[in-house]
Amino acid sequence: MQAKLRSILVDLAWPVLITIAMLASWEIAVRVLGIRSIILPPPSEVFEAIIARRELLLTHLWPSLYLTVLGFALSVVGGVLVAILITYSTIVRKGFYPVIVVSQVIPKISIAPLFIVWFGTGTMSSLLLAVLIAFFPMTINAAMGFQTIDEDIHRMARTFMGSRWQIFWKIRMPNALPYIFGGMKISITLAIIGVIVSEFVASQEGIGYLIKLAGGLLDTPLMMAAITMLSISGLALYGLIVIAEEHAVYWQAPSDIGAGGGG
């Protein structure tokens, strides 16, 4: 355990050093060149803004995070269920699946104003846009996981008289787990994008709304503070998924983790 901790620290050392170096050169450049903070505030000023206006930031961060997590959860559950249908129903696989795939050429962000016409400005539109964007990679990944089981394993289970139900729970499900986590990692990022975009378009709260509002007021430090908070939250959510993956997909060698991703 201690050795593992040490190797994590060693791996982190360089990226952390480089980040610090970049922030430092940004700080120095802004000061030396005398750039106004409306154009580009130095990191120290962004940090000050985060501290000074933490309540405002958190007030707007929570609803965004709540919608992101909810939209993500709906996408995961829905994506896995649809993937199961794709796996077991020929009609869904041959009829609906191609339609779902082709429909992905629609830039989903462009649908946001339409959602506002249908569902009004508010949480429902944000949630649905998050699901609309996050759902697809989840479905594709999970469907791939359920379907790419080793033919030999399938044959082995059948010689031992395994039923379809047993083959699903004992083989397809665990086999799909790495793919499902790969999908989750893509979906969480997309769910954030969906929520923020819909908050740009029409909302009275949320971190997307705050970024737009601060932009209108030319309060650049607040904008960047909001972006920073959003990025940290996104990173934290992603990290939670990675930790869950390491526990759930315990049988893969560490270097294989994420191999089921893509899509």
Partner: protein, 248 residues
Amino acid sequence: MLRINSVRKLYKDLEVIRNVSFDVSDGEFLSLLGPSGCGKSTLLMMVTGLIEVSGGQISINGEAVSGPRREVGVVFQQPVLLPWRTVLDNVLFPIELLNLSRAQYKDRAMELLSMAKIDDFAHHLPRQLSGGMRQRASICRALIHDPSILLMDEPFSALDAITRDEMGVELLRIWQANRKTVIFVTHSIREAAFLSDRVLVMGRRPATIVDEVAIDLPRPRQIAMMEDEGFNRYVRRLRKAIEASHAS
């Protein structure tokens, strides 16, 4: 007793197995020997009930085989262990599929693992084992529900030559203790001669049985036996039979 009666297999118009008949008596170790791709694995899969016969009949103790059966255990070319299960849980996998009690079979699983000398790895994941150890685990899995017939489809062909010889000796030891009826598919002449009571030589396209050789060598058999003239006489005999089938 296992009976294969005038079995044929057609894929569309292509005849891959023609009129194969033989009996395997209880407790016998029988090998099907033939070149790769000659249809011997297809024949074995028909005995498992996974592939249907196009003509003729396969019966176990007088009952026609129409699907997978409880009294059959199968070892494949690859170990096909489930990577998310420990070795012990892999061995118990058929017990779960057959809806039997895991608790009841756990001791038997450990006994089999210790007989295969991998009991120390019972709680390891397959990826932590060598290829030979994985295949041992898969033999334990095939034996866990105490089937009377063990079907083995080139089980050692993915292993290196040294491990392969050792595995043969191990298999015979396990077989001696359990006395299953074994059908062992192989393309190795020496392996067939070393393991079997009887070897059926199969010719290619369509597959038929071209020769039958009873291996009358004492048991238990040791690796050193492979140097003996008696053993090598059988090897030459089998090789000739295979060459003759090629020429025709």
